[in-house]
Amino acid sequence: MSTQDQARLSNAENMIAAIAPMLRGLGHVAVGSQSPIPGSAALLAQALSGGTMRVSILGSREQNPFTDGGRELFDCAGQGRIDAFFLSGGQIDGAANINLVGTGDIETYPRHQQRFPGSFGSAYLYFVVPRVILFREEHTPRTLVRAVDFISAPGTSAPEVYRPGGPHALVTSRCVFSFDKPTARFTLLSVHPGVTVDEVRACTGFDYAVPPVVPQTPAPDASTLALLRGDIAQMVAKTYPAFALKTWGNSIAQ
């Protein structure tokens, strides 16, 4: 493998590299189960934090501080002790509404065209975690839609609704959007290496703001990349072995 090849990031690595800096300075980042990309980003950010960041990963035997049963994550978030969390969606729309339930006219619920697993904790955590980062690897008009068919959790709320939390950004395999709460609208913040602004437009079902100049998503420097592909990959493999194998190959398997 040439030096150039080594520096080329996979889709997953691009997303990890985009998410990690958004966590800088936070005290406690929590990650849901089956979220290997955010989990990897959180572990990378933690390693770069100089020991000030705590990362809790549901489903991890070793990064999991919870001893009060399944409710503790949600109680902990309700107490204001979780600074960042990650949500995805079968559909995500331009107002940052997310749909984890299914597609089709809501009037025909629950007979969906396509059924997703369900809302998990989104209808709560999206409201109370200050920095919720949306992620979805598949960036197509099918996943990023004009308006979701079912709102598992809304992107914004009326002023009288208690909502210390909400969407901060949306990270896909193609780009990063930031979310502007007052306008309830995404802005294209950066495109990953090799992705064009036009390509993002063509693949996105919702409207969003585009600044005159859209930078490339900053790549990690060599030492950070080495850290990710070394120690972090090994830690990730403990909780997400299938993901680690796919992303970093056999060398990571324990």
């Binding site: 049963g69 339930v101 059924r115 809302s119 209808a123 598992s152 009288e160």
Partner: protein
């Protein structure tokens, strides 16, 4: 059964009225005969405490499953907690009908298998998923055909509903939810104005009715001879037991002594007070794993996920599975 919107999935629990007073002492009994604890000089009464009390019976897996009647409302743990898969197999063998399943708060293989076997009328959960093995295929197919009722929830709402029953209150307030379509499909959830909000300030807040299952069913590593169950950090199992009218448990083994006597083990123990009956089922959570006991059998789970993609595939899987999973009645 057709999907629909029943008015109230969680009718309130009725507590019976107190009996009338009776001041007479029971007929005299010869002491040792009626006291289960040893009365000899050397016997230590204190350490035999639970022998004094009504202890849940230890029965067979089949007999345990037989306590789950058609139409029962059963709360089940997620795949990362303790799943009583041996009992699930028995329920499918018996072709139990019209179960109302509650995932605490999400649910996986247990629900998909029971739905595929035609045992389920409705399901309430924050998610139904086979995790890394993908969507739950029999659930998805049944929903599409309108064969089961669906009560979509969100994790903390299930916890709140169970905690309401645990505390004996009719509802619990919960933040979030407002603006979610979950409120549209859950007419039993309401939004009220926070009665403690500052004067003149609106503060809408959701309230979640109590969830009171008929039965909590789960698997744990061990019980003791008194019927206390060790669950470690899996305290959603404790919440399920507290919230339910009765609790059925399978365990890997029954150990000697009393779990409550050891301060370390007591911290992770559910008292037999909450346990209706238990059965010994070695490897009773397989092919799902049991934390600190055995890992999930990934090949078996993947095999299920593949087979269950079609109704025929599921039926073949079920035939093979029930043959393998035969337990003494």
């Amino acid at each position: 059964m057709q999907a629909g919107r029943p008015v109230d999935p969680h009718p309130q629990h009725k507590v019976p009225s107190p009996a009338r007073i009776d001041l007479r002492l029971p007929p005299a009994k010869k002491t040792p005969k009626y006291c289960r604890y040893p009365t000899g000089k050397g016997a230590s009464i204190g350490t035999e405490k639970n022998m004094l009390t009504s202890t849940p019976p230890v029965i067979s897996v089949g007999a345990l499953a037989a306590r789950i009647a058609n139409g029962a409302k059963v709360v089940l743990p997620p795949d990362y907690s303790g799943c009583a898969m041996a009992v699930v197999a028995e329920l499918m063998r018996r072709r139990v009908r019209d179960l109302h399943l509650i995932g605490a708060p999400v649910i996986g293989f247990q629900a998909d298998q029971l739905i595929g076997a035609g045992c389920v009328a409705g399901i309430e959960a924050a998610a139904i998923t086979l995790g890394e093995h993908g969507l739950a295929p029999r659930f998805t197919a049944a929903l599409k055909r309108g064969e089961i009722e669906m009560w979509d929830a969100t994790c903390p709402a299930i916890h709140a509903g169970l905690q309401a029953s645990e505390k004996g209150v009719p509802f619990m307030p919960m933040r979030g939810l407002i603006g979610s379509d979950l409120l549209r499909v859950r007419p039993d959830w309401k939004v009220i104005d926070n009665p403690l909000a500052e004067d003149g300030k609106r503060d809408p807040i959701a309230i979640i009715p109590a969830i009171r299952p008929d039965i909590a069913l789960f698997h744990a590593a061990k019980a003791d001879a008194h019927g206390n169950i060790w669950i470690g950090i899996r305290r959603e199992l404790m919440l399920m037991a507290h919230a339910s009218k009765s609790t059925l448990v399978t365990v890997e083994e029954i150990v000697e002594g009393n779990l409550l006597d050891d301060p370390a083990l007591a911290a992770g123990t559910i008292s037999s007070l909450y346990v209706t009956a238990l059965a010994v089922a070695p490897h009773g959570a397989a092919p799902i794993g049991l934390a600190d006991c055995y890992d999930a059998d990934g090949a078996a789970l993947a095999g299920y996920a593949t087979a269950a993609r079609t109704a025929d595939g599921f039926r073949d899987w079920l035939d093979r599975h029930l043959e393998r999973a035969l337990v003494p009645a």
